[in-house]
């Protein structure tokens, strides 16, 4: 970095910022703050609409209500069959008692109100992350609260997404930079040739990885997050989770790596043919400096955008990957909920995914505003 000369930094705008008055700095802060607030408001609004749409889809035609009604009847019927007093009633009395119980339960579930009212209540509850109780599923602590079930499972999903994304992000940028420096050579052609493989989702690679490393070679576990029983000491525990993390992370990386490298290499190549890069080359700057200051810096917003799209794709793409690897995250909970037909959990998870998407979009927008001084507000 010592090669840089002051006059080269001038077009970058860096020294100017260092010499700006407090007032100018303040305006940068105001700019970012205003941008962030506006973005937050618009994203929040679109999340509310998205959540309401989810509720509408989940309950179009009162289909879900019918399921809930049926389950209430079944549950009360079961409860009453075990009840001694109920057994001694005569049939007419039995029926009346049963219907009264059902009506009470339906009222408790809010099934007596019109759908428009109920959907708004549900929307308000969903925004406050209050998803009610699950029909069949339970959290690790045995609670029926959907919120607790989801919170239990959020950690493993974040671990998997975090681990795979970090490797993917830095790995593909580094490789793309390397390739763009020497494009047209064997490695470049090889990796570009591999880019069509990214059309397969990560669960699909998971199948092959499990077949190969777990079933045939028996090197790594088939799935899950921890051995049973788990190791007692902390280090052993971490290593064990790490061992279980290898295959799912590999699957996610495999399915996304080549296309990310391809996209970013293309960006870098386009930017490296810009006039100011040619100028820097003519000045005799080192490759390293050209890459960091003249290629990486101006492409950063684009990189962040494509990274955002990648993360968004990963969130829901993980559902089946977790299922294939028996990873105890949100995705597997989703699959279990589908299997058990547990409506509140399915709806809640869809809404949670909508939230996760929105949070991702928001955070990345915020970062975008920080790195790109050109972001305009209000115009």
């Amino acid at each position: 970095m010592s090669v840089t000369t002051p006059e080269l930094e001038a077009p970058q705008g860096v020294p100017q910022e260092q010499t700006t008055s407090p007032k100018r700095k303040n305006s940068t802060f105001a700019r970012v703050a205003k941008y962030t607030l506006l973005k937050f408001a618009s994203i929040f609004l679109s999340v509310v609409v998205a959540v309401y749409l989810t509720i509408l889809i989940a309950n179009m035609g009162g289909y879900v209500d019918q399921i809930v009604r049926g389950q209430i009847r079944e549950f009360i019927g079961q409860q009453l069959r075990a009840d001694q007093n109920y057994q001694q009633m005569d049939p007419a009395e039995k029926n009346a008692f049963f219907l009264a119980q059902v009506e009470r339960a339906e009222k408790r579930y809010g099934l007596d109100k019109p759908f428009a009212v109920r959907s708004l209540t549900f929307l308000w509850n969903a925004i406050r992350m209050d998803f009610g109780t699950a029909q069949l599923m339970a959290s690790d602590t045995g609670s029926r609260q959907v919120k607790l079930i989801i919170l239990d499972r959020l950690g493993p999903t974040l671990l998997l997404v975090g681990a795979s994304n970090l490797i993917l992000f830095f790995g593909s940028i580094a490789l793309a930079l390397m390739l763009s420096r020497s494009y047209g050579n064997f490695w470049d052609k090889l990796i570009i040739g591999f880019s069509p493989t990214s059309s397969a989702p990560s669960w699909f690679y998971g199948l092959f990885l499990i077949l190969l490393f777990a079933a045939v070679f028996r090197w790594l576990p088939f799935g899950g997050m921890i051995d049973s029983p788990p190791p007692r000491d902390q280090l052993g525990y971490i290593l064990n989770v790490g061992k279980h993390l290898i295959l799912p992370t590999m699957a996610i990386i495999l399915s996304n790596l080549f296309i990310s490298i391809y996209n970013w290499r293309t960006f870098f190549l386009i930017y490296s043919s810009e006039d100011y890069v040619e100028m820097a080359k003519a000045k005799g700057l080192s490759d390293r400096d050209i890459q960091y200051r003249y290629i990486l810096r101006p492409t950063l917003p684009t990189i962040i955008t494509s990274f955002a799209l990648l993360v968004i794709g990963l969130w829901t793409g993980l559902i089946l990957t977790e299922g294939v690897f028996q990873w105890p995250g949100l995705g597997r909970t989703f699959i279990t909920a589908i299997g058990l037909y547990d409506t509140p959990v399915i709806v809640a998870l869809t809404i949670i995914y909508a939230y996760l998407l929105a949070i991702t979009v928001f955070v990345l927008d915020f970062v975008y505003a920080l790195v790109d001084p050109r972001v305009k507000i209000g115009s």
Binding site: V49, Y63, A200, I346, L357
Partner: protein, 448 residues
Amino acid sequence: MQGIIKGFQQLLKYPSAIIGLALIAILFIVSILTVIIIPRDEAIRLWRGGEAIWGQNPKTVPPAWTNLFRSKKLPETIVLTMADESVQTEVNERAEGENRVLVYNFNYTADFAPQDVVFSFTSRYATRNPFVSIFWVTPDGREIRLMEQGIGYNFSYRATQDTKLSRRLGGLSPEIGLFDNPETEAVDVLKGQYQIVIDYLTFENDSSISKADVVIHGKVYGLFGTDHQRRDLTIGILWGVPIALAFGLVASFGTSIAAIIFAALGVWYGGWVDELIQRITEINLNLPILSILIMIGTFYSKSITTILGATVLLSIFSGAIKSYRAIFMQVKESPYIEAARSYGATSSRIIFSYLIPRVTPLLIPGLVLGVPSFVFLEATLASLNLGDPVLPTWGKIIYEAWGTGGAVYNGFYYWILEPAILLIITGLGFALVGFAMDRIFNPRLRDI
């Protein structure tokens, strides 16, 4: 239009595109032949028909051609029936009823024992049921008694389930013991001419046995093997081709064309139309598409048309519409559009004849590249048990293999690999062509 034709001519200069086009062509030919040879209803009947159709197939066995790569051959299924010409029949009339002896011959050449030996009978009688004895004669002349008992109207005998026979064979499982070579210490197969003698008595003049089938279930089957329900996977694998292609193409075409029309409408009319389309896109970007599709599949209908429709609807207002909008914004200002406006062309004429054709070259690579992702989307949904309830698809085969079939744990790798490899071929075919097209139609990438 000329640009597109020129582009296609250029496509043939890329070896990867030629491979891709060849793969797509093969898939198209296979799917057309499949639909013609096995019509939809026939496929559904063969796939969901029940025991009657696939009962004589072995269970979870690899395809027959895998024997070509084995030094020790696995047996194929042998079916012997009364109608076979080689069956020797001997009839002895009795005062009431008859005594009939059927002798079945077969040559066993495989290196491994079969999966099972199953006898099934159908008989007719009024009050007294027929009595059947079955003897097994090995090539070295040993005679083993399998079963002696009276049978009902429909009766079947599975050698593997006969624990007494297993004890008599020295603790070996019957299907292995019956073929074992007693001369050697190891458990191996005695090759040669085997004989099955079915000797039965009927006790009424009208009483008879109309079916006496012997099925020696092999350990390989057909082109693609069988699954845990003894189904021939050929039907599922072959019918997966047209379904995957149709789903991928319809979804990709429908989505791209609708997105481009909406983008053009928004840019041309501007104002609230544009605003509305933009807002819908923003909301749609916040919708978790896969989860919503899962919800639709769980709550409404798993039928492939419903899922296809929902997929297209949810994918129209995606990131692509934004990039089309940016392109249209530029094109809208071009002089030729102004010229069209000045001679009084209608809005619809400008949109459909001038704006949209201008960006078609940009549309084509995305369209082709979109196909694999939709093919895999269908497979993903089917692998979550949300596949079409009647038609077989690759995703459903993977779901059954992975879940209920336990293919990974039991080593039935062919069962997962077959649909998976076909998915790869489909994805790769379209991706190879799409990537090449991307370079041709996006001039900025051409030199790269």
